[in-house]
Amino acid sequence: MASESASATEPLSRRRRLTDWLSGSLWTVVFGSLAVVAVGGLVQVSFGAYSMTLVQAWQAVFNPDVVFNLQAWNAFLFGGQMPEMNQRSLVVWNIRLPRVAVAALVGMNLAVSGAIFQAVTRNELASPFILGVSSGAGLMILLVLVVFSGVTLVIPLVVTEITLGISSLLPVIAALGGIVAFLVVYAIAWKNGTSPVRLVLAGVIVGTVFSSLQTGLFFFADDIGVVQSAIAWTTGSLTGVDWEQVRMALPWTLVALFLALVSARQLNVLLLGEDTASSLGMNVEKVRFALSGVAVLAAAASIAVAGIVGFVGLIVPHMVRNIVGSDYRKLVVGCLFAGPALMVAADVGARLGLSILLGSDGQMPVGIVTGLLGGPYFLYLMRKQERMGEI
C-alpha cells in the first residue's frame, strides 16, 4: 500500500537485522498501513455531526481519564458500566473510535480470509466469498428482513425466558448463513475428495442460485426502508457500529487470525500444488478443509458486524503479495495491517464523502467505497507490474 511512506524507511534498516523473517518489504507494508490507519482514524474522530477542532479531537483520543481507565476498557470490551467522561471524549470514544476499530477488524478478517482462499483454491481471483459465503449470508439477510421480520424467538431458560426479535439476531444469522452455504458448496464439490476447480465451480453455481433467490426477495419488500437496510447489509456498511460490534467480532477474529498465522507454512506447502503437498506427507483434503474453515470463520465475523464488504479480500492479498512476495508467513502478517488500512480509509469516504461532495449528512455503504478506492489502486498496480496476480 504505502510503499512511498516515509515513516517506514527509517526503522526499516535498523530492524531488518533483527530477524530475516520480517523482511524490509514487510516492514514497509506494516508501517505504511499503520500510517494510513492513523491518518484515517484521526480524520474519522475529528469530523462529524458533533464538530470539534483537530486539537480537541486529539485531546479526547488521548484523554488519560479514558485511556488509562480500566473501567472504561471494561465497558468497551466487555460491555460493563460506562464511566463518567466529558462529552467530547464520549463522542470520540463511544461513537467514532469504535467505528475505526470495527473497520480495522473487518479489514483484517477479509484480507486474511482472501489470502487463505487464494492459496486453498490456487486461484488468483479467489476472495473470501468465492465458496458461496456472501450469497448464503445475503440470502439469509433478505429472508430475515423481508420474510421473517415479524418473527420473535422465545428462548426458554430455567428461571425466565428471553424474547428476541429475529432482526436483532440478524448479524448472527447472516454469518451462519454464510457458513452453511460454504458447507453446502463443499458437500457438492466433494466426490472422493475435492479439487480447487471443483470447489470454485460449486461455489460459483451455489452463489448464483442463492443470489437469484436473494434478488427475487427484493420484490417482496414493501417499504423503502427495508430495501435500504438490505442494500446496506449486502454491500457492507459500518454505519452505527459501536463497541458492541467490536465485542462481537473480536473473539472470532483473534481465533481465526491466530490460526491463520500458525498455518502459514501449511499454506506455503499447498502453493506447491496438491501432488507435491501430498507427497510431502500433507493430508491435503483435511488441511484444505480446515484452512477453508478458518477463512470462512474470519469472513463470517466480518459479515456479522459489517455485512458483505466486497473487494477488500480480493485485492489486499494481491497488493501485499506484490510487495512482500508469496511467502504466506509474510503475506498473512502484511494482510493483517494492509486490510485495516484499506477499510479505514474507505470508511472515511463512506462516512464523510457525501457530506463533502453534496453537503448532505448521509452516509453510503463502505462496500461501495472499497471498490471505488481499491479498484483504481489495483489497476494502477496492474499497469505498473508485469506479473500481477500470479500466486
Binding site: N192, L272, T276, S279, G281, S326
Partner: protein, 315 residues
C-alpha cells in the same frame, strides 16, 4: 518378489533378474551383497543395508483412475532391492507414471500391496510415509518469489510438527540436499528466475531433503537440456554409489535408463514386458515389441548403446 508373475510373451525371462548388472559396479561394498542376498531370498528379507536403504516392492498391483473403468496397471509386481536403482521405461501411455504414483500411495490401489521393508505403505500415516518414501512428480509448480533455500526447506515438512521451527538437523539435511543436487550457487535465488533445468535440480534437492530411504522420480530428465540431464543422472549415480537409497526412476530415454539403472523394467499397456539388467532388457527384440522401433543395440562398457533406425508399424 516379482517372480510369481507370469511373464508376458515377448518379454525377457524373469530369471535374468538374478544375474543382474551388479557386477559392473562391484566396488560398492556391503549394499551390493545384501541386494543379491535379498533377491535370492524370495520373500521379504529382514535385511537393511548399512546405509539404511529399504527393500521396496509392490505386489499384484492393480492401479487405475476413478474416472476409468479399466485399470491402467493390471496385476503387476515390482521389486527393488535395497540401494538399487530401478528404471521404469516404456512408450507414452504405458503406465509408468501411474505405476509410480501407485507405488507412492498417491493413487489408491484397486488391488495388491506396496511394501517398504515388509511394512504395508498404506498403513503408514501420511507424514510417516513421507519420511520413508519421497516422490518427485513430473510437473511441479512453485511461486516465483520463493527462494531456492525456502523451497528445499519444504522438503523437511514431514519431519516437522505443526508448530515446529527448523531444527539444526533440518538445516543440516537441507544443506546436504542442496550440496548433493549441486545447487549451492542458486541458494538465494528466486525460483522464478531459474531455467527449467535449474528448477528441476532444485526440486530434486527438495525431495532429497526429505531424506527418505526410498526415492521415486517421475521423468526427472524429460524436457531438460543435455547438461542438466547429465546433472540429474549424476545425482542418481551418486545415490546409487552411496547405496543408501532405493531409487525407482521413470525415464523416457531408454539410453539413459540403460546407462543409469541397476535394473530396468519395461512396461507396455500397463504390463511388464521385461525386467532385469539393462543388458538383458534393452535388446533389439524388446525395442521392436515394446517401443515399436527397429534399432541397433551394441553392448558397450557404459551399458547397451541404442541406435534407433525406424518406426515399426503393426499393419
Amino acid at each position: 518378489m516379482a517372480d510369481e508373475t507370469p511373464e508376458p510373451d515377448g518379454g525377457v525371462d524373469a530369471s535374468l533378474e538374478r544375474e543382474d548388472a551388479r557386477d559392473r559396479d562391484g566396488d560398492t561394498g556391503g549394499g551390493t551383497e545384501g541386494a543379491t542376498a535379498a533377491d535370492v531370498g524370495g520373500g521379504i528379507p529382514p535385511y537393511r543395508s548399512n546405509g539404511g536403504a529399504s527393500e521396496f516392492s509392490g505386489e499384484d498391483l492393480v492401479i487405475g483412475y476413478p474416472s476409468a473403468d479399466e485399470p491402467v496397471v493390471d496385476d503387476e509386481s515390482i521389486s527393488v532391492a535395497p540401494g538399487e536403482v530401478t528404471a521404469l521405461v516404456g512408450p507414452n501411455g504405458s503406465g509408468k507414471s501411474t505405476l509410480l504414483k501407485g507405488l507412492a500411495d498417491q493413487l489408491s490401489l484397486d488391488g495388491g500391496t506396496v511394501l517398504i521393508d515388509g511394512e504395508e505403505v498404506h498403513s503408514f500415516e501420511t507424514k510417516e510415509l513421507a519420511r520413508r518414501l519421497g516422490l518427485l512428480s513430473q510437473e511441479n509448480v512453485a511461486p516465483d518469489t520463493i527462494t531456492v533455500e525456502k523451497l528445499v526447506e519444504h522438503g523437511r515438512y514431514p519431519h516437522r510438527g505443526f508448530f515446529d521451527g527448523l531444527t539444526d538437523e533440518d538445516r543440516a539435511a537441507v544443506d546436504r540436499a542442496i550440496d548433493l543436487a549441486g545447487v549451492d550457487h542458486l541458494r538465494g535465488r528466486d525460483v522464478g528466475s531459474l531455467s527449467g533445468g535449474q528448477k528441476q535440480l532444485v526440486w530434486i534437492a527438495m525431495v532429497l531433503a526429505q531424506e527418505t530411504d526410498v526415492l521415486l522420480l517421475d521423468e526427472p530428465t524429460t524436457f531438460l537440456d543435455m547438461h542438466h540431464q547429465l546433472e540429474v543422472m549424476e545425482i542418481v549415480e551418486t545415490l546409487r554409489e552411496a547405496s543408501d537409497k532405493t531409487v525407482v526412476v521413470v525415464l523416457h530415454d531408454l539410453q539413459q535408463a540403460a546407462r543409469l539403472a541397476d535394473k530396468v523394467v519395461a512396461l507396455q499397456d500397463g504390463a511388464v514386458q521385461g525386467r532385469g539388467s539393462p543388458e538383458a532388457v534393452v535388446t533389439e527384440e524388446l525395442l521392436a515389441d515394446v517401443f515399436e522401433i527397429e534399432a541397433e543395440v551394441v553392448p558397450t562398457e557404459r551399458g547397451p548403446q541404442i541406435t534407433p533406425l525406424r518406426p515399426l508399424h503393426d499393419d
